[in-house]
């Protein structure tokens, strides 16, 4: 039963991811990416990581992807013009590289020892919060500084240069 659920979710996820790459219009790619992120959130829930699933939807799908869509709309990026791609061979290299990477990773995965079942005791917001504010306090604070820097940077970079100079 759980396997069937997982398979459905995994299929949705993979197909949507493939669609991200295959679509030429970046807006459609963005929408596919949102679908991928949401199905990933569902998979997180099957792994009993509720907190992560929640913030995945809220932050990733809700904030980052919205930002992406805003920028796409702002730049008015439509379907890419049919420019002459001087490196068309890269498209053909994609399959072998992908195949090779998959093979290597599967090679490792199939040798993995079986682990215990997820208990769910650690996925709750409470437990994450406990660890976050005790052992991992420093990364937490540093992350906030990081976000501050990102904000400042984004504002500086995206500012219009008409004033002054």
């Amino acid at each position: 039963m759980e396997k069937a659920l997982f398979l459905i979710l995994a299929a949705v996820c993979a197909v949507a991811a493939l669609n991200v790459v295959l679509q030429r219009n970046p807006l459609y790619s963005a929408l596919s990416l949102i679908a991928t992120l949401c199905s990933l959130a569902a998979i997180f829930i099957t792994l009993q990581a509720q907190f992560i699933a929640a913030i995945q939807v809220v932050v990733y799908a809700g904030a980052i992807m919205v930002l992406f869509v805003f920028v796409i709309m702002l730049l008015n990026v439509t379907t890419a013009e049919r420019t002459i791609d001087r490196h068309r061979y890269l498209k053909f290299l994609a399959i072998p590289f992908a195949g090779l990477l998959i093979t290597e990773v599967f090679y490792v995965i199939t040798r993995f020892p079986q682990a215990q079942m997820p208990t769910g005791a650690i996925g709750t917001t409470e437990s994450i919060g406990v660890y976050l504010f005790n052992q991992y306090l420093l990364p937490f604070e540093v992350t906030s500084i990081l976000i501050l820097m990102a904000m400042v940077g984004a504002m500086v970079l995206a500012r219009r240069e008409e004033k002054g100079k």
Partner: protein, 100 residues
């Protein structure tokens, strides 16, 4: 009971698709989205390991990764906007003067 290797396989597939997407797409924003896809694949791996081995640090790592991804998305998109302002195009192939 879903075996751990299935989750890891899904993660691998997502990562591969993201990697391939990076060097197949010509649009800068599309490339960025594929990078986000890769990050998500890694997030899935981390969460998988954390729940199967009962380690919370995996999920905390995911928390940090998401934060950093958000910051990075903001800055990256700002860069893309400023490049677009200079060139009127976000075709990655046209930014080809980084060579000897």
């Amino acid at each position: 009971m879903v075996p751990i290797s299935w989750y890891l396989a899904l993660s691998a597939i997502l990562f591969t698709i993201g990697v391939v997407g990076v060097f197949v797409k010509q649009n800068a924003i599309s490339i960025f989205m594929c990078i986000e896809l890769m990050l998500n694949a890694v997030n899935l791996t981390l969460v998988t390991f954390s729940s199967f081995f009962n380690e919370v640090s995996g999920q905390l790592f995911v928390f940090i990764v998401m934060t950093v991804a958000a910051a990075e998305a903001a800055v990256g998109l700002a860069i893309i906007i400023s490049i677009f302002r200079n060139r009127e195009s976000i075709n990655v192939d046209e930014a080809n003067i980084l060579k000897l």
